[in-house]
Amino acid sequence: MEFNSNFILGCSAIGAGLAVIAGIGPGVGQGIAAGHAAAAVGRNPGAKSDITSTMLLGQAVAETTGLYGLLIAIILLFVQPLVK
C-alpha cells in the first residue's frame, strides 16, 4: 500500500511525541534521588559537597534512558528514516 509522504511525516511526529514520554521515568528517578540527597544533607550537613556530587552523578546516569527516547524523537523528526 502506498502512503503519502506527508502522512508518514505526521505519523513520525506522533511517534516522536510518544517517544519523549520516556522522559517520565528519569524525571521520577531524579526527583527521588534529589529528595534522598536533601534528606541526607539534613542528616549530615558536613558531607554536603560529597552528597551533591554523588547525586548529580547518579542523576546523570539515570537520565540516559530518557535521552534514548529523545534520540528516537530527534531521528524521527530530523533524519526522517521512514520517508523515502
Partner: protein, 241 residues
C-alpha cells in the same frame, strides 16, 4: 520533499552539521564539516592556554599571583578530583582525564560563542568513548591477567558470559550517547527558539544558555570524566601502578 517538513526545511532551523569543503581520498568523497572546524578552534584555544601557562611557569614565583593562581587552582582541583576517585592509580591517568575534561568542557560551552559544539556530533563523542573503552580493557588485561578477565566474564555462572559481554560493549555506547544527546538537545532547543520565535527571542534566551550550555555542559563533562575514572579504577582493581 513535502511541504509538511516544517522542522527540517521550511523554517530553516540550523543546527545540523554542514560540510565546509569536500576532498577525494582513495576514491571516497570526504567532507571537512563544521565539527572539524569547531574542534580545531577549541584545540587552538587549549593549545594557546597551555603555551601561555608554560611560559608563565618558566618564571613562576613563590607567592602565585594572577594567571599563575588560575593555573594552579585548575591543576589542583583536577588532581584532587582524580586522586579522590582513583586513589594510587591517579598518577598515571590525570593527564588523560585532564585533557578529556578541558576538551569536553570547552566544546560544550563553545555554543555560547556561536560555534556548533563539536560534542553534538556523534563521531566526536564516540571517539572519546572508544578511547575510554580501550583504556578500560587494556588495564583490565594488564592488572587482572587473562584468567581474571575470564573469571569476571563468567561472574555468577559461566552461562552469564553473553550478558556480561553485552554489558561491557554497552559501556562506550551509553557513555557517548549520554554526552551527545545532552549537548544535541541543548543545541536543538536553542536553534528552535532562535529560528521559530525569531524577533521575540531577545535577551531572555540568555537564561536558557546558562542552563543548556553552561550547567548541562559542566555536569556532562563531570559525569563523563567521573565515569571514565570509575570504570578504569574498577578495571585496575587494587594492583600496584
Amino acid at each position: 520533499m513535502g511541504y509538511g517538513t516544517l522542522l527540517s526545511q521550511g523554517a530553516d532551523v540550523d543546527f545540523m552539521i554542514h560540510g565546509v569543503f569536500s576532498y577525494q581520498l582513495f576514491g571516497q568523497t570526504l567532507w571537512i564539516t563544521t565539527t572539524h572546524v569547531c574542534a580545531l578552534i577549541v584545540m587552538l584555544i587549549i593549545i594557546g592556554f597551555c603555551i601561555a601557562a608554560n611560559r608563565m611557569l618558566k618564571h613562576a614565583t613563590e607567592v602565585p599571583g594572577g594567571f599563575q593562581n588560575v593555573v594552579e587552582l585548575l591543576v589542583e582541583k583536577l588532581d584532587g578530583m582524580v586522586s579522590g576517585v582513583m586513589g594510587k592509580q591517579a598518577v598515571r591517568f590525570r593527564n588523560y582525564i585532564g585533557t578529556l575534561f578541558f576538551f569536553i568542557f570547552l566544546s560544550n560551552i563553545s555554543g555560547l560563542f556561536g560555534l556548533r559544539p563539536p560534542t553534538a556530533d556523534y563521531g566526536v563523542t564516540f571517539a572519546l568513548a572508544l578511547m575510554t573503552f580501550t583504556l578500560i580493557r587494556f588495564n583490565e588485561l594488564k592488572y587482572q591477567k587473562l584468567s581474571g578477565v575470564l573469571k569476571g566474564l563468567c561472574d555468577p555462572w559461566p552461562i552469564w558470559a553473553p550478558i556480561n559481554i553485552i554489558g561491557n560493549l554497552a559501556v562506550p555506547i551509553s557513555l557517548s550517547l549520554r554526552l551527545f544527546a545532552n549537548i544535541l538537545s541543548g543545541t536543538a532547543i536553542m536553534a528552535l527558539i532562535y529560528t521559530l520565535l525569531g524577533k521575540i527571542a531577545l535577551i531572555w534566551p540568555a537564561a536558557l544558555h546558562v542552563y543548556f550550555d553552561i550547567f548541562s555542559g559542566a555536569i556532562q563533562t563531570y559525569v563523563f570524566c567521573m565515569l571514565t575514572m570509575t570504570y578504569i579504577a574498577d578495571a585496575c582493581g587494587d594492583g600496584e601502578p
